[in-house]
Subunit: 372 residues, 2 copies
């Protein structure tokens, strides 16, 4: 990652206490445009995952570009976006409708079209109970495991879950998967996109063989989106999230270029106690502690070519350096590309929004910590 290539925001947004997360609005808008155009061109609906930004402002920019609604991970996130006027929300998660959460869902279903994930007859029963106290039947998609081996049933088990859901009084609209095994080096994204298409087609066929009409076949993630757009197969809806901001994981995967990184942590060099070491004030409490084995460090330092964060504490990022290389001095401002923007955003109250290095807005991370 080299300085002139990341976004366009110069290193200083004046009078900003660090660490702070700064969004380059030009880059964000270009990222949103590109994904909207690509999915539209492929005839695939775009339902961006809002867990990445947790910001009503970003959801509005996505809807203005044709997104059919938002995906979220929790009922709490759904509440935030529904409050802001989003009228079509999918909780892409195997929701357990405890009594309290069931009441919250029934309340939401009166204000927007609410769809949730289901992957077991037991969860379908509790959702059915919540559905009976809501104005209309709750809508569900059956979650399918396409190779990530997290939640979701195997394709040949999808019909049994769908049948149980229908019997519980739910409206079964189709199937979804998260091809998370696309987060890996080499050809992982392309292979995962193929797995996604195969698994979703099988699950769709199984539901239809059981007499359930399938209208939604939902897939997608930022790493796999490009391959799926090229060959959508059965997929008629995509749910990428990270593409709005991008991050060091996506750089490592080749899913984005440095020019497409819209979010950076602005940090200050606070210590330089040895010739081969700098310490920045951006630690795990602003970058997040994510570090997959295939990413070389805890974030890329834009202003020090090739440098990554080699050790991370809550408020210290240790950057190892070639002792002979030029480096910023104590007090200098630098930018760090976080490994995983979704977890970084969830660590701050607000995002600083800049165009060409000039602060133009602050966006509250409204769904921050909306974990339930």
């Amino acid at each position: 990652v080299r300085h002139p290539d990341v976004g366009t925001t110069p290193v200083t947004v004046p009078d900003l206490d660090t660490p702070a997360l700064v969004v380059d609005l030009d880059v964000l808008e270009r990222n949103l445009d590109a994904m909207a155009d690509a999915t539209a061109g492929a005839g695939v609906a775009l339902r961006p995952h809002a867990k990445t930004h947790k910001c009503p402002e970003v959801a509005r920019l996505q809807q203005q570009r044709g997104a059919v609604g938002v995906s979220v991970a929790t009922v709490g996130e759904a509440e935030v976006f529904c409050d802001d006027g989003v009228d079509d929300i999918f909780v892409a998660y195997p929701v357990w409708a405890s009594e309290r959460r069931g009441r919250r869902m029934a309340g939401l279903a009166e204000r927007c079209r609410l769809t949730v994930g289901v992957d077991s007859p037991a969860a379908a029963d509790t959702l059915g109970r919540a559905s009976r106290s809501s104005a209309g039947p709750l809508r569900v998609l059956v979650e399918v495991d396409s190779g990530h081996h997290r939640s979701g049933v195997l394709p040949d088990q999808a019909a049994a879950v769908a049948t149980a859901a229908a019997r519980a009084g739910l409206e079964v609209a189709g199937v979804f998967t998260f091809p998370g095994h696309g987060y890996g080096p080499g050809g992982a994204p392309e292979a995962a996109a193929r797995d996604e298409a195969t698994a979703l087609a099988r699950a769709r066929d199984a539901l239809e063989a059981a007499g359930i009409e399938v209208t939604v076949v939902s897939g997608g993630s930022t790493p796999t989106a490009r391959a799926t757009i090229r060959h959508p197969g059965p997929v008629n809806e995509l749910r990428p999230g990270v593409y709005a901001f991008n991050d060091a994981q996506q750089l490592a995967l080749g899913s984005c270029t440095p020019e497409q990184v819209a979010l950076t942590a602005h940090a200050t060099v606070v210590s330089a106690p040895a010739p081969d070491r700098l310490v920045l004030d951006a630690g795990s409490k602003v970058l997040g502690a994510d570090r997959p084995s295939w990413v070389g460090g805890y974030g890329c330092v834009v202003e020090v070519p090739g440098a990554t964060v080699t050790a991370l504490s809550e408020h210290h990022a240790v950057v190892s350096l070639d002792p002979d290389a030029p480096r910023p001095g104590i007090g200098a401002r630098v930018r760090v590309v976080p490994n995983h923007c979704c977890n970084a955003v969830n660590l701050v109250d607000e995002l600083v929004v800049a165009r060409g290095g000039v602060e133009v807005d602050r966006w509250a991370v409204a769904a921050r910590g909306a974990n339930t």
Copy 2:
């Protein structure tokens, strides 16, 4: 980790949407009592690190037991605790006093005794500027590297920093270190405690040789505290933080027993799609993504003996199981001991406080996200 051994809180706090962080108040109080008694017995002042809990309520319990004040990592955290009436605050960090932060520090110094860390002449100069606009001189401790190799100067460079600080108009009160290399397997905590004593004694002697009176020699961390209390050497103040709650890292280090774990994430089993796999709704957005190589997983599942979280997404914890072992069903409540309680606490708006499984209070994580 076995069920009956972690805290005393039964698995269900009624009517609680998961995931949620629950504090067992009995265990917390015992942990606070034990550290207060041990440090008092050794004649060492206790200045607990408040970054762990970020809660004025916990700081008050610590002060009631004789703590001399709090340690914090940021000026933002200092502001929160000062607002709650803490009158002696040490920012255990090499603070860079940018103009705005300098003004904030001058404001704080009028309301409490504020001490901050310094490890370079450059930072001392900016602190001196802030000090000149405050009511009295700012107080500093020189940070020494005792082997963790993060921030802090080597002991033989401490006098140069102290001299620069005094020349900048700061009140130099002594030296501090964080023996973070004690976070490791085997004898790492004991070895780090020895390194801490050696480095602090050398730095203290160097300052005194340069004509600077040293009143504070501050060390400590939860893993090293026990060894330092046994042989304080030069140390007259300790700054452990995690001991209040403990976590899976401390269990792995042997720094606490299961009975001393006061904080757990209450979670629900949301999916069980294969005989060897459970999925919980506690992901990296409530547990944090910390995972040192010497900890076997992303958190211990209390109700499934021996089980750890083997893969972690933002809202999914995947637990790998022996297919023949008994396990909780979908919808069951379980508790997870996070790897690093400081990062977990920073992910929630409030802590649920329980005694014997009955919710007795909720504490706002008031300094949540106070990163600057």
